[in-house]
Symmetry: C2
Subunit: 374 residues, 2 copies
């Protein structure tokens, strides 16, 4: 299966794998797909280490890096060098303390102040650019920008290095804006996707974006975890697919075991678009965490990005540790970003096997369709 | 393009057109598709008249009838022969009066009590069965049941007449239940669809339903208004597609002119799943009506089905008349059931042309896909 984007990026199958785990990225790239490492969790130094490891694994095969550039953040929180953590209102801190106590989560206090500034920097344009500088020292084949348009210095740096820039969008309007800002490749992501996502479904969004930005190539994201779904996305006009959720239950994924069990057991009705983890609507597993923030009587309501991210991630670290110790309240609270395809994920497989099965099922689906129109 | 369902139903293209307008049903059937008349708006006598007209138009080509069988209604409202309209709480009546006044809608009082019992009967199993009895006297090729499983007497009647029964579902669980109740054909409808709809997208839902009910054939609904989307749906494993929204802006549709203009101008972001028109979540154009009921400070919240349907439809009749007179507040309130594909609908075309374009684009999409996998 060859699309123009395969030629351009030197990839065998136009199957892009977004993952925070370097092992998944390397496995997919080595299987003929295109691994993309989500860099948000790393400092520039850590990212350098991860990419060096990937370089050693993939022997020159193509992979990419994804950074988060929010279009709008609560910038006041970053002003004047004030420590970000200090901007979190007392009642939000109190609500987290109340939640952890209500669900009997043991362990140390949740607010890890030391990482607050770091996290804040990482979700701003300046922070993303720092990560991109590190990434461009490696032989990467793609820089992807989630949320906002890529800042001019990121585009300039990537251009100078000959690395295409991809941008994730949830509306036609955003797609046009991203192309105007210099994106070489658009990832049109439907509402069914995991993580930050809009309201329009993949089936509706992809053809509209394809038509709006032509001849800029479009990848489809959201609802894609099988070869039939890959064929459907490409019937809509996409040149390839961008998948995230399907890798969370692979052997290589570092998904916490308690969360992995919840993912394997979940149906497609068990996700929710919630602002409770990052401050922006992001699809994730429905859990006591999302229910308490979104519908709990005592909830102060989520903060904006990046403050809610800070509130959530520091609490989630503690919840995750308690869940691994088997504390039932912590298991109830634990969740992760995942799309509606979670209902299809019912066993742990090597990432390589997922790639091969998707490519094989894609071929079957196309053959079946071709027979119909004869 | 021939699928097993084409053979079984004697149809040229597996393109099913749901419409409340007999002209659309006849035009699609005559163009080689399969028109399905939504019967909820009719009394048994009116339905008989409409079907007689269709019979005269289609010369034996296949068409079907769709009835609404809610799984759960507020049955207490129908008990003891009490007049349904009398069950509407005072504050809901007052809210409608307030809304019409706030938006300056002129005209007579909104509650048409005479039609209340009628409407109530039409959304219950007993009411649906009455419509089905009439439909089965005509040479129909399909009975479709929206919302709940078809009642046993409906299945028995259809079986005796040799007419297959189709059922709309939004989850795998509902699909299994419908097959157990005797459905011969499942319409798996994604959240992006207009009207009553669930939360799971077409891209995610269709393959799961196909696998769960095999070998029962599945049609895909939701997000389908073009040949590319039809090809995508069939790549997912559907044997055909079920479309509703795309007909609303055809020449043949009796869509009110003010609403038609709103549909043509709307983007895919302009729909919302709201309980404000029927009491159950139904996707429709976002308008002052949905905003006031769902987020207005004075809103008493929507009632259940069928009471909210009664509240809404009687008010909407008056709003529609005022909108046609050009009253701006009425135009703000006016809306209609439509899916996210509304963003693709930007001109008025004959229904026949929509069918031909979809079939032609389907062929192009399949050919493009086939070239990719060579």
């Amino acid at each position: 299966m060859r699309t123009a984007i395969c030629e351009r990026l030197g990839v065998e199958f136009p199957l892009f794998a977004f993952s925070h785990c370097r092992d998944v990225v390397a496995a997919v790239t080595n299987a003929g797909g295109f691994g993309v490492l989500g860099a948000i969790a790393y400092t520039p130094e850590q990212l350098d280490t991860e990419l060096t490891w990937i370089d050693e694994q993939v022997g020159g095969r193509p992979y990419g890096v994804d950074v988060l550039v929010p279009g709008k953040v609560d910038a006041s929180a970053l002003d004047g060098g004030a420590r970000l953590a200090e901007s979190i209102p007392e009642r939000h801190r109190d609500f987290v303390t109340h939640l952890l106590s209500k669900y009997g989560v043991s362990g140390p206090a949740p607010v890890a102040r030391a990482s607050a500034d770091e996290l804040g920097r990482r979700v701003t344009a300046a922070g993303a650019t720092g990560l991109v500088e590190v990434a461009l020292k490696h032989p990467i084949g793609l820089i992807a920008s989630a949320l906002g348009p890529p800042p001019p210095e990121m585009v300039a740096g990537a251009r100078a290095a000959g690395v295409p820039v991809a941008a994730l969008v949830g509306t036609v309007e955003h797609a046009r804006r991203q192309v105007a800002a210099g994106a070489d490749l658009i990832v049109a992501q439907g509402t069914e996707a995991g993580g930050h996502t809009g309201e329009i479904s993949t089936m509706v969004l992809v053809p509209q974006v394809v038509d709006a930005v032509a001849p800029v190539p479009v990848l489809a994201a959201g609802g894609i975890a099988s070869g039939r779904q890959m064929a459907a996305a490409m019937a809509l006009g996409a040149q390839g697919v961008w998948c995230g959720s399907v890798w969370l239950t692979t052997e290589e994924a570092e998904t916490a075991p308690a969360v992995k069990r919840k993912l394997l057991a979940a149906s497609s009705l068990d996700t929710v678009r919630s602002r409770s983890r990052t401050g922006k609507p992001a699809r994730q597993l429905r859990s006591a965490w999302t229910e308490e923030w979104d519908a709990g009587q005592e909830s102060p309501g989520p903060l904006g990005m990046p403050l809610q991210m800070l509130v959530a991630e520091t609490a989630m670290q503690r919840i995750g540790q308690a869940a691994e110790r088997g504390e039932p309240g912590a298991v109830e609270l634990a969740n992760y970003f995942v799309g509606q395809v979670v209902g299809q994920l019912d066993r742990v497989r090597p990432a390589r096997e997922v790639v091969y099965e998707m490519v094989s099922e894609f071929g079957d689906a196309v053959e079946r369709l071709a027979r119909l129109s004869r």
